[in-house]
Amino acid sequence: MTAAPRLAPEVSPAPLRVALAGNPNAGKTTLFNALTGARARTGNYPGITVDRRTGPWRLGEGAEAELLDVPGTYSLSARSPEEQVAVEAVLPADGAPPDVVVVVADATALERHLYLALQIVETGRPTVLALNMMDEARAAGIAIDREALAEAMGAEVVPIVASRGEGLEALRAAVRRQAGAPAATRPPEPVDGAVADDVAEVEAVLAEQRPDDSPGERRARALWALLSLGDDELEGVPARLREVTDAVHARAEAAGRNLDREIIAGRYARIDAWVLAAVTADGHGRAGRPGTERLDAVLTHPVAGVLVFALVMYLLFEALFAWSDPLIGLIEAGVGWAQGLAAAVLPDGPLEGLLVDGVLAGVGNVVVFVPQIALLFVFIAVLEDSGYLARVAFVIDRVMRGVGLHGKAFVPLLSGFACAIPAVMATRTIESRKDRLVTMLALPLMSCSARLPVYALVIAVVFATDERLFGVLSIGAVVLFAMYALSVVATLGAAAVLRRTVLKGPRPPLVLELPPYRMPGARNVASAVGRRVKSFLVDAGTIILAITIVLWALLSFPRSEAITAEHAELREEARVELSGEALKARLARVDALESEAQLRHSAAGRLGHFIEPALAPLGFDWRIGVGLIGSFAAREVLVSTLGIVWGIGEEADEESVPLREALREAERPDGSKLFTPLSGLALMVFFVLAAQCMSTLAVVRRESGSWKWPLLMLGYMTVLAYVGAWITYQGGQLLGFT
């Protein structure tokens, strides 16, 4: 660019900073999407896996705002860094607080939603309460006196229906008014009786530490400290603040008082007063929601509910396995076409290899996950927005509790049967960080679809297809079933162990809102799916691409010129001696032999030899070792890597008869067969348990926020795989099997 655009002479004022807060299920995301449209941007908070979404919001009359989507929360008290994000958004430890806070509340369950609104009002920030779902509230016989509520709260109150875009103009006007109002130094919200002294003591410490806070901010911060500190995982809290909070709590406890209860009850007493002043509900409002009641009578019914549950989960499974398949095939074909084109255009050599087998293969390795990620998140978004996801957790919680997990861990674990990548991303629906980590570290043990080609090949090689167990059961089917059973047992066992060791903690309670059933909005679903796919491509995709290139280099270099020259000679000889089909076949054979020789010579080939002593007790030799290295790109790559090692060519798939034959014939140096039923079983057990998938590691890195967790996962799964295969092979030999 040569000429920089000139700045407009009248510089527009900096946009207002508006925070959008609300309980989960208040319709906050719908409102955010309606206000910012497609212009929203998604980023991360460093170190934690909470999306940071912002977007420009035109307020009208020339005013612009930057709208920040505060993560959905029931309260501004926080025990974890994730929960603290919402607190920081309205009550930042450093930097300026937002100019205006908009709180979205579900008008049909106003009391509970007002608890968060009250906490926002306590901060003294200009506040606008967006009363969402007013249509449902009216239908339920709930009438809200807007002015009375605004008067009582000291905030603007605007009725809206976010899903239909109603009331947004009034919301803009209210935000403009609040932003334009003089910075009111409103007195802090009152606290009752005995608590007042306790709060004052914490405020005194805060006054020393943060002399510039307004009285409202100080009051809000003191209440936050009293409710949050003590058993939290927060970092960066001043020691003096912790001390005074602990002391105040200890004193209250000694006097037989419960400060938490007094503060929370005091808040609800104020909310009850607001509701009394502004809300009238006729009798049938109390009865709840007839539609949701009727649906729940079926969907959580002991028989019908379980059937529907099984059906929905089956559909999810079907989507991940069957519906994604044509799309994956299309992507693979497209990448193959691009590779073919690049190979045809570029001269033979390292550059061609880098582009074809490194970069293009890497892009393929990334994009190939998109169909399953997109489909899973369409499912999750629809289930979540409709309210059924909470029922899934509710129905299955009893089962998950047994291994120390939450009902919400079920969908990610089930998705692990298809692919760990979308499954790990799906753990975001789990609120507690520890629960989420346990789930994401255990679920790669679920037998994903990429392991299937490995099982298929090994079973075909080591077991005869007509072999029967007890006369009826096909031995292949029994072995396959056993591998899946092993994967489920290993997953649940790993979760239980992780929960009792590295991620120890009190068993997480289930405190789960069952929101009313609602029709999911297409826009919300599309936006959620788009965000997840983009986040995968950008954050995990780059790691996957990089590792693919490294693996390609390991398998390709160093190259031996001698081998190249030797095979060039063989080709020349063939061209002299043969012609037509025979020549073609001979040339293909020479290509395969050259690949094999080069692989043997490569870093991966040498590494295979190097690790052979470690693999021998499992019944593997260096050639399988090379396959294991190659399969780090993706488990099914084992098949094509074995194809190269045995000189069949890399196009060999698990159905390839020559590859099966070659593996059956393969011998150890002592002349015994390499692939026996026992070494085959050991290899399959290894694949069930090993973290043979760089993409999983990359996505766990992305979702856990640090390299620590994927490395832990790689470590424990590798040990588990080694021990599992060792027990299988050595134990089998002891029992006299071969």
Binding site: R79, Y115, L227, I264, Y268, G288, D397
Partner: protein, 109 residues
């Protein structure tokens, strides 16, 4: 149980029964979370339904539905327990009878 607590807990209630919260005796993080979500002493709660496998349960509290496990429910002490106005659930009697005698509210119609 040899020595039963003097007051019924939420875990004792059959479907449809309701009571007034007297105390939330869960560990602090859970108690705080429950109270912040509106389950406070003085709040009226009703058992709406039970999961197919018997646990967790669903409460109606402050106009919304909240699901918790029986283990937590057993730490929520109630008074003024009142059985369901209609369709009493089989297999869920006993514990609530004491509470019933204490019930001061008349069934609303």
């Amino acid at each position: 149980m040899p020595d039963e607590p003097p007051l019924p807990t939420l875990a004792d209630l059959p479907i449809g029964a309701e009571g007034t919260v007297v105390d939330v005796r869960c560990p602090r993080p859970v108690a705080r979370r429950l109270m912040e979500m509106g389950v406070l002493p003085g709040t009226r709660v009703r058992v709406l339904r039970v999961a197919p496998l018997g646990d967790p349960i669903v409460l109606q509290v402050r106009r919304y539905s909240l699901s918790i496990r029986r283990r937590e429910a057993a730490d929520i002490v109630l008074s003024d327990v009142r059985e369901a106005a209609t369709e009493p659930e089989p297999g869920a009697k006993g514990a609530t009878e004491r509470g019933l005698s204490r019930a001061s509210e008349r069934p609303a119609s």
